[in-house]
Symmetry: C3
Subunit: 136 residues, 3 copies
């Protein structure tokens, strides 16, 4: 049997339930929905990077990337990125931040596909992102 491996970067807070931040089996890697929580600190509850869309998106992308790396992958392996926003008016700014972030990543493969929809999230959270990767 091919093992399924849990991906738990040391920077991440403990999941609030029995799920993994990421799992990898064979060449498939799935990242759980990430939000803009800062790296975990002992004794501090999960804390968003800040109240702004900018702060939360950049932290969320960093949190997704940490899980990809923990599984031996990079953004170049990402096939699908799902972006959940709470407000349609955030679309343009999210795209600007998204584009700037990925320009800095120096991808050598085409960017992942993406779906963006507008949903409810817990109070204080403006964005959630998950990702599916297939390692090459």
């Amino acid at each position: 049997m091919t093992e399924k491996t849990a991906l738990t970067p040391t920077t991440h807070t403990t999941p609030p339930a029995r799920f993994s931040h990421g799992v990898r089996r064979g060449n498939v890697l799935q990242v759980a929905g990430q939000v803009g929580f800062l790296p975990a600190e002992d004794g501090r509850p999960p804390t968003p990077a800040g109240p702004t869309l900018r702060e939360q998106i950049l932290q969320t992308l960093a949190n997704v990337e940490a899980i990809l790396r923990e599984g031996g992958a990079t953004w170049d392996d990402a096939m699908m990125i799902r972006v959940y926003l709470t407000d349609v008016d955030h679309f343009a700014e999210m795209n600007d931040l998204y584009n700037a972030y990925f320009e800095e990543q120096g991808l050598t493969q085409p960017p992942a596909a993406r779906t963006t929809v507008y949903v409810g999230l817990p109070p204080g959270l403006l964005v959630e992102i998950d990702a599916l990767a297939v390692l090459g």
Copy 2:
């Protein structure tokens, strides 16, 4: 060609459209969005297990599991579980039920990744869950 197989547990009501409750091709298994409908009975329309979150989540998880099993998989093969709730206030109770359910499953592999978002669902339904599995 590798066949794509439809997964249709005998307990399930007929899908309301041309989709499969689950499909498997090779080692990839996808479970369609399940809700808390009771096992199908002739002449009875699809009927939720009850009005409470508890009843619906436990039935929904059972419905997902039936499809996994129909395809030769178990929860140990689940890579991603998507939980759609209608109310942010249901998050804590969902987590309690989710944790208790999976503790009873006796998993030998790490739990799946998960994303939870809050959306609209048809009247009377409080939760919908789908899952992606990769068999080991």
Copy 3:
């Protein structure tokens, strides 16, 4: 390394950000969230096929299919179709259109699994659809 290929049908408008309309790596193909935009024309901004659910769903399915074909796949390879609607009252009509569309496709494999949820979308858009395919 297995290359990741971007799938960009000539009919499609440029994505509004650094994502691909579709990507394929090995036998996995992911289609990004598609909406009911007409085929791209120089100098015209992205334009929905019309204001009705019928027009938008048929165009959206055509847009998804164009990406599948660009990647050497067909609907027979689709494992999961995610349908995002904005209004629960659209479910029955969406199913009618969905069924009629897929009857015409002459599938030789079982239909894909599906999840339908109700979310917010940008003004004027009634539906968004994405798809995961595994080539046989």
